[in-house]
């Protein structure tokens, strides 16, 4: 077995970091929890839990609506959170950050807006075969309503994106919008976003980047990427559920009509006609998830405090260790190709269905995910019902990966004919 690389020398102590996450002390089925379902949702550090408790204990009020002191405090905390998010993803201005429920709502918002502006009957939207349903279905609904065409960029048999094939598709199908994921939740490959965004821009297309998996794993800078829109979920970045954001370039976001109507997003309402506020309020109708936004900001401050480069290094060490260790298990094939990947391994095991694997591992306190990972078109393309996925975060340990591999050996023994 490969020697365990140490990142302690870079000032990163996994034991210290684990102490920040109370849930990691949980036992499952009498075993210490080994949480490998971080791509679905990550765990929350005490700093986030405390910040949200403090908000509800001492600052809770509705925002933008009162002159009283608490309302001022809540408004300030909410808007400060927006600044933190903008800085975290490299958005030049904080008004370019719209709080949403998560990636799904962010993509629905852009799809709806572009459907009323840029996209006309007969226009093409280009997606990829590896997209999450959240980056397929909103476009399909829109395509049906508006009479749009959907084209799909290919993947290789490993499930990794065929980048040259995608570039050829961009040229051939002349899409108005290209929407793709920065990193795949199903197989883990990191797509060369900047290269593809440049290709899309050269063809005159706008780009919507699904950052649900990238944001948690490595430093993202939307300005450097030059993407037009970027969506992500707070709960995958160690923040609470029910909060996420859409980034959009100010001029593009400003050109979109409102998404939902209601309070907070209006300038003046009259039955003769209503006028709307500018960015970002126009897209945040109703009372938003104030505590969620504040909790998300706390998560980002926490991550930045640990150092995103150090966390990235730790995660890369974990995934390389796992990839190497999995080669010792007979009949295991890891998907996603040999290119850059986020810290997850999605694999098949000869003769054993993913659900059986997950049940065995669960009995040993190891949480993995199985199934289609909300990427049914990809599973269909690969001709498989699903995979087993172990997705890591910086608080996972090499010893936990050893337990995973040991569990797989045991399954191999039970099922081996």
């Amino acid at each position: 077995m490969m020697t365990r690389p140490t990142t302690e020398s870079q000032g990163f102590s996994v034991e210290a970091v684990r102490a920040d996450f109370p849930i990691l002390r949980t036992e499952v089925n009498g075993q210490p929890l080994a949480y490998f379902d971080n791509a679905a949702t990550s765990q929350k550090p005490q700093a986030v839990i405390d910040r949200m408790t403090a908000y509800y204990s001492t600052e809770n009020a509705n925002i933008h609506r009162g002159v009283h002191a608490l309302s001022q405090a809540a408004t300030e905390a909410y808007e400060a959170a927006r600044k933190v998010v903008a800085r975290f993803i490299g958005a030049p201005e904080s008004r370019e950050v719209i709080f949403t429920r998560g990636t799904t709502e962010a993509i629905n918002l852009v799809a709806s807006g572009l459907g009323q502006t840029v996209l006309q009957k007969g226009d093409t939207i280009l997606l990829t075969e590896l997209e999450h349903h959240a980056n397929i279905v909103p476009w399909q609904l829109l395509a049906e309503r508006k009479g749009l065409r959907i084209e799909v960029a290919p993947v290789f048999d490993t499930g990794a994106l065929d980048v040259e094939g995608m570039k050829a598709k961009i040229v051939a199908s002349a899409p108005k919008v290209v929407a793709f994921s920065h990193a795949s939740n199903a197989v883990g490959c990191i797509n060369p976003a900047r290269e593809l965004i440049d290709a899309a821009h050269s063809a005159g297309a706008l780009v919507v980047l699904d950052g649900a998996q990238s944001t948690a794993h490595f430093p993202v800078n939307v300005a450097d990427l030059d993407c037009d829109f970027f969506a992500f979920s707070g709960h995958k970045v160690f923040g609470p559920t029910g909060i996420g954001a859409l980034y959009g370039k100010a001029d593009l976001l400003g050109s979109l009509p409102p998404y939902q109507g209601g309070g907070d997003m209006i300038e003046k309402v009259s039955f003769k006609g209503t006028s709307f506020r500018g960015l970002p309020e126009r897209f945040e109708a109703g009372t938003p998830n104030i505590a969620g936004a504040i909790g998300l900001a706390a998560a980002m401050v926490y991550v930045d405090g640990l150092g995103r480069e150090a966390l990235d290094a730790q995660e890369r060490a974990l995934v390389e260790y796992a990839l190497d260790a999995l080669t010792s298990v007979k009949g295991v094939r890891v998907l996603g190709g040999d290119g850059p990947r986020v810290s997850l391994v999605s694999f098949l095991m000869d003769g054993v269905h993913p659900h059986d694997i997950a049940s065995f591992l669960d009995a040993e306190g190891i949480a993995v995910r199985t199934g289609h990972h909300c990427a049914q078109p990809l599973m269909e393309r690969l001709g498989i019902p699903g995979t087993t996925r172990a997705s890591f975060a910086f608080y996972n340990t090499f010893a936990e990966i050893d337990r995973l591999v040991k569990g797989l050996h045991r399954i191999q023994k039970v099922f081996g004919s």
């Binding site: 003769g351 054993v352 269905h353 993913p354 659900h355 059986d356 049940s359 065995f360 669960d362 009995a363 199985t370 199934g371 289609h372 049914q376 599973m379 019902p385 699903g386 039970v414 099922f415 004919s417």
Partner: protein, 147 residues
């Protein structure tokens, strides 16, 4: 209960070498069952003569639990009347849903091993998949789901 109790020899054996995993070209009834949770799909075929099941088979790939359940179902229902088969279906659903209902081993035989899955709520639909397809076939519904 450990995993080895759920994945007993009988379950493993039927999942590795399922009985009646084939199509019936002259099937009088057939239907697909789909488990949207995992994407597994099973198609069940029946040959019914004089209100009695004379042949029962299935096709499709699934996890060990769903394959063993389909295989054992095909063995245990062949020869039963349609009324008896429907009753077995209803009893199977009750047994899977309610861990408090005792399993009569003399009646269920090897299927009792599959019913053990009811201690694992996340896996119950694996065991019921083929049965839902069976019921769909008897009701003349070409597709059914475990939902």
């Amino acid at each position: 209960m450990s995993m080895e109790d759920l994945y007993q020899e009988i379950v493993l054996e039927h999942s590795k070498r399922p009985r009646n995993r084939r199509a019936i070209p002259q099937a009088s009834h057939r239907a697909k069952g789909h488990n949207p949770l995992c994407g597994d799909e099973i198609e069940v075929y029946l040959k019914v003569e004089d209100e009695r099941i004379v042949d029962l088979s299935f096709q499709g790939q699934g996890c060990a639990i769903s394959t063993a359940s389909a295989s054992l179902m095909s063995e245990s229902l062949t020869g039963l009347s349609l009324v008896e088969a429907r009753q077995r279906f209803a009893e199977m659903m009750t047994l899977l849903k309610d861990a408090g209902v005792p399993v009569d081993a003399s009646k269920w035989g090897d299927l009792a091993a599959v019913i053990g899955v009811r201690r694992y709520p996340g896996r119950i639909k694996c065991a019921s998949l083929a049965w839902h397809a069976l019921q769909g076939a008897l009701d003349g519904r070409p597709e059914s789901t475990t939902e």
